[in-house]
């Protein structure tokens, strides 16, 4: 492997600006890494070799002409396959979109391309982002680069695996209930879900519209902040897009947590949490405490209601969002059918996988007349209460710290047999989506099987900078400690 593939995105960007490596060379190196790794990892649904090289050339010309000087100009990246890319297959890892080529790009992708980032291809995911393992993809599973017998997590498993395997320098994912943070934790990379409304959802194929957010997945906190700075923008095409004037996320990359108040919800440390994960997460809290943060445990409350509320709301929205996939306008249409009704039925039955069908049925049920109040409305009220619980917590704390997932990456095939158990795995991440708040997952160690563990930091709405600062300080402390340990070994 080309050593330069281990560079961070910002470090590569610097080398490109300093003419130590060209954008084309960087793309070539990534493509050759993809060729040698994909057989085991299978992080991509589509690799756009030709397009990537062509764009790298154009970007390099702009850099040479002095028209592009951004920190990530020329850096190769990957994009989750539920983000539309103009002229490039966008499948949502579903048979029903196996042939869909969008005539437009998602706003987040446009922002990247404007900054000179070169998109290498589209990463694998759970079908329509429904799942926690990337095993529900129509195009086959993605494997965890740390141990191919294990899943990478999901639904942004392809993006996280691609970054972990050095197939790209960063990637975009989407997070509806933890789909960036959980696989980042499983793959030992940094993943951030911004405040709802920070990154435009235009061009993101909707799963749960009121919960979906696009975010960066990268090798370290600095890269994450730099990518977020590029993709975050107010977009008049998205009515839920926010007008924020505090998008200078890299300004929060300060190795200083003195006086920062950090709360650990006791509710996040109880039953179901793996012992090794618990130990690593508490150790991470200890590191921040040593660095001057005030750390204490508290009761967040309502945690047990987050999962039923989430699956009710997300499924309800999904059942409506996914009804446009009907074989009429684009995507998969069944071969033989008799009449309109059967065309719908067969196209959708053959086009969607079992997990997607399960959620469409669940969603249609909770919205149906007679059940709407009992399920959907109740879930919305629960969502509001969960938000209030976070509001109260953030009166006392700058950052909430906890695990990103109850365990490390399960083995392939272990999760799908029991969907309810898989849903419970989202317990630490989904509250952030219900409350609309930002969260970041940062690597904080390995379990005894050599699988990564992630610590999750949650902030109040619009306070990405606080979690970025805490995550950055933790990362610095950890690097510092690793360096000292290295010296100790040498001595």
């Amino acid at each position: 492997m080309d050593d330069r593939l281990e560079l961070s995105a910002l470090a590569l960007g610097r080398q490109i600006r300093e003419r130590k490596i060209s954008a084309v060379e960087a793309v070539q190196a990534a493509l050759s890494r993809i060729r040698e790794t994909e057989e085991t990892v299978h992080a991509f649904v589509t690799v756009d070799e030709e397009g990537a090289l062509r764009r790298a050339k154009q970007v390099q010309q702009k850099i040479d002409a002095g028209e592009l000087s951004g920190p990530l100009a020329g850096v190769p990246a990957a994009v989750k396959d539920n983000l539309c890319t103009k002229g490039l297959l966008t499948t949502c890892a579903s048979r029903i979109l196996e042939n869909f080529v969008p005539p437009y790009s998602a706003q987040a992708v446009e922002n990247l391309e404007e900054a000179g980032v070169v998109v290498l291809g589209k990463t694998n995911m759970d079908e329509f982002a429904m799942g926690s393992t990337t095993e529900t993809s129509y195009f086959g599973v993605t494997r965890n680069p740390w141990n191919p017998e294990h899943v990478p997590g999901g639904s942004s498993g392809g993006s996280c695996a691609a970054v972990a395997a050095n197939e790209c320098f960063f990637a975009l994912g989407s997070d509806t209930g933890g789909s960036i943070r959980q696989p980042s934790s499983f793959c030992g990379v940094v993943g951030l879900k911004p405040t709802y409304g920070t990154v435009s959802r235009y061009g993101l194929v909707a799963y749960g519209s009121s919960l979906d957010q696009i975010g960066p997945i990268a090798k370290n906190v600095s890269d994450c902040a730099a990518v977020l700075e590029i993709i975050a923008s107010h977009d008049p095409k998205d009515s839920t897009s926010l007008k924020r004037t505090d998008l200078d996320f890299t300004s929060a990359l300060l190795d200083d947590v003195k006086g920062m108040r950090i709360g650990i919800p006791r509710d996040y440390l109880g039953e179901g949490l793996d012992g090794e994960v618990r130990q690593a997460v508490l150790a991470a809290a200890e590191v921040l405490k040593e660095r001057g943060a005030e750390v204490e445990e508290f009761d967040l409350s309502l945690v047990e209601y987050a999962i039923p509320a989430y699956y009710t709301i997300a499924s309800a929205e999904a059942s409506s969002n996914l009804s446009r996939f009907d074989g009429v306008k684009y995507g998969y249409r069944a071969k033989d059918f008799d009449g309109l009704h059967q065309m719908y039925k067969k196209s959708r039955s053959e086009g969607f996988g079992p997990e997607v069908k399960r959620r469409i049925m669940l969603g249609a049920f909770v919205l149906s007349s007679g059940y709407y109040d009992a399920y959907y409305l109740k879930a919305l009220r629960t969502k509001a209460l969960i938000k209030q619980a976070f509001d109260r917590a953030f009166e006392k704390y700058d950052v909430i710290l906890g695990p990103a997932a109850p365990t490390t990456a399960p083995r392939l095939g272990e999760s799908l047999a029991d969907p309810l158990k898989m849903y419970l795995g989202d317990i630490y991440t989904i509250s952030a989506n219900l409350a609309g708040i930002p969260g970041i997952s940062v690597p904080c160690g390995m379990d005894s099987r050599g699988l990564p563990i992630g610590v999750q930091l949650l902030g109040n709405c619009f306070e990405e900078k606080k979690i970025i600062r805490a995550a950055y300080a933790y990362e610095c402390a950890r690097a510092c400690r690793a360096a000292q340990q290295g010296k100790a070994v040498e001595a």
Binding site: L83, C84, T90, C92, L97, F100, P102, P103, Y104, A106, R201, Y202, G203, L204, V205, A206, G208, S209, S210, P236, K237, D238, S239, T240, A316, E317, S319, S320, S323, R324, F325, D326, V328, K329, Y330, L340, Y344, A364, L367, S368, S369, Y372, Y376
Partner: protein
């Protein structure tokens, strides 16, 4: 037979006159090659998102204010889920839980006097595309040009009791909306569509009977006929000891017959829920006041002004204001020539006659106020006489000709040459000794024949008054 009362409520869909669609920037223009006024949003492409057109909201508010509705300060859009290919997302964005306007009403007047018809609510929604069934190729095609065109649905209370009241209500509603400029409200072209909910009950009974909903009513005449027909059908059922089934029926105007489309049993569950892609709309008092202040002059105000400012009699003012187009024509023409009464005469007389003769609505008038004003000036200046003017107006009405140019080209100017006129009059006197004798013998009316002969000889281009004067002068000698 027992006595029955008919109870009718209407659901009226009105296509708003915005330039662009309700949730995207595509044109709402009628026609256009299939799928040319479309984009990812109005064709339901994955990842596309709706953004509300502010003008739609303002038109809906304006209609609500003009129909005495309350405006919801906090309103939301909901998704109505159902599968059909003309609906690209397989859900229609509409309003169920918090519509923009509610609890209003308008006063109508029929032969039985005045009454108020309540308006339950007005909500905004998007129109669907159009399916085209190609029999030749045995396939169906979809045109999404109309998909996303903004509509408001005006839901009345079940306050109407006859076809006459329904027509009066629709007429009033249409006039209000036309005056606001919010829609042209053409039933034939579908920019105004009415569904009729009708039930009957025995006279004196308090509870409503079982209602049916009638669709596909494309003219006022069809609505009136469908109401009579449906009322009779329901009464016949009840008289025969049968029950009315709650169902949706489709009117076939050619056959003067309706048939059941679907019953309540197979009514769909639309699984309405708030659209998470659109944020709630918060409407301030200031905004409402701004819309109120910008409301154009409505009919009642015009009636007063026409009387007071122009001295137009009430009856005439009523007709002039019975359509926005007619009122605009009157005001613009009067402003150009400064002769409101003469303008009124032209509109009340020749214009209405031609409209009726050609079976047209005032909305179909295509001539410019300038040309009518010019014609009035030409008559006043004596350039053409009133008979010629009527012929010229017919040309203006049909082809919007410039009257000055037309009169010049066709040589229709009144002959004011005293010598030529005198010569013709003398010839007519010489050629009609009998009439001359009659006149001189005391038959005053005989002069009329001589004037007519002179006009004929002059090919109508003389001033009849001048001819009359000259005849008398010569015959008196």
């Amino acid at each position: 037979m027992r006595q029955y009362e008919t109870v009718i409520g209407l659901e009226v869909h009105v296509e708003l006159a915005t330039k662009t669609k309700i949730f995207c920037g595509c044109s709402t223009a009628f026609g256009g090659a299939p799928n040319t006024h479309t984009c990812p949003v109005c064709t339901g492409m994955p990842g596309s998102l709706p953004v509300l057109n502010r003008q739609v909201l303002e038109y809906a508010m304006a209609v609500g204010l003009a129909t005495n509705c309350e405006i919801n300060r906090y309103c939301k859009f909901d998704r109505k889920n159902y599968f059909y290919p003309d609906n690209p997302q397989n859900y229609q964005i509409s309003q169920l839980y918090l519509p923009i306007c509610h609890d209003g009403g308008i006063e109508i007047e029929t032969g039985f006097g005045k009454k108020t018809v309540g308006i339950h609510e007005i909500h905004m929604e998007e129109d669907a595309g159009k399916l085209i069934h190609d029999e030749w190729e045995d396939c169906s095609l979809v045109d999404y040009n109309r998909s996303g065109v903004p509509l408001i649905e005006i839901v009345s209370e079940p306050d109407m009791r006859s076809a006459e009241e329904v027509i009066a209500y629709l007429d009033k509603l249409r006039l209000i909306i036309q005056y606001l400029g919010a829609s042209d409200c053409k039933l034939q072209e579908g920019s105004m569509r009415a569904d009729v909910n009708l039930s009957v009950r025995e006279a004196g009974q308090k509870e409503f009977g079982t209602r049916t909903e009638m669709k596909n009513l494309n003219s006022f005449r069809a609505i009136a006929r469908a109401i009579e027909n449906e009322r009779d059908r329901q009464i016949d059922l009840l008289e025969a000891g049968e029950k009315v089934v709650q169902e949706t029926r489709r009117w076939d105007d050619a056959k003067e017959y309706s048939y059941a489309m679907r019953s309540k049993e197979d009514a769909q569950d639309y699984r309405y829920f708030p659209d998470p892609d659109l944020v709630p709309v918060v409407i301030s008092d200031e905004w409402i006041e701004k819309i109120r202040a910008a409301q154009p002059e409505m009919r009642a105000e015009k009636l007063v002004r026409y009387r007071e400012e122009f001295g137009i009699p009430d009856y005439d003012a009523g007709i002039l204001t019975s359509s926005k187009k007619m009122a605009d024509m009157f005001e613009e023409t009067a402003a150009l020539c400064g002769k409101p009464k003469k303008v009124s005469n032209w509109l009340m007389g020749e214009t209405l006659r031609l409209l009726k003769e050609q079976n047209l609505d005032p909305e179909d008038m295509r001539f410019s106020p300038k040309h009518l004003a010019d014609l009035i000036d030409l008559v006043d200046a004596g350039t053409v006489n009133s008979t010629v003017a009527k012929d010229v107006f017919a040309e203006i009405f049909a082809r919007d000709v410039d009257p000055a140019v037309y009169v010049e080209e066709k040589g229709l100017k009144t002959v004011n040459d005293e010598g030529a006129l005198r010569k013709t009059v003398e010839e007519v006197i010489a050629a009609n000794p009998q009439s001359v004798a009659d006149y001189r013998g005391g038959k005053e009316k005989a002069i009329g024949f001589l004037v007519g002969q002179t006009m004929k000889a002059m090919k109508g281009k003389a001033d009849p008054g001048a001819v009359n004067r000259l005849l008398k002068e010569i015959l008196a000698q």
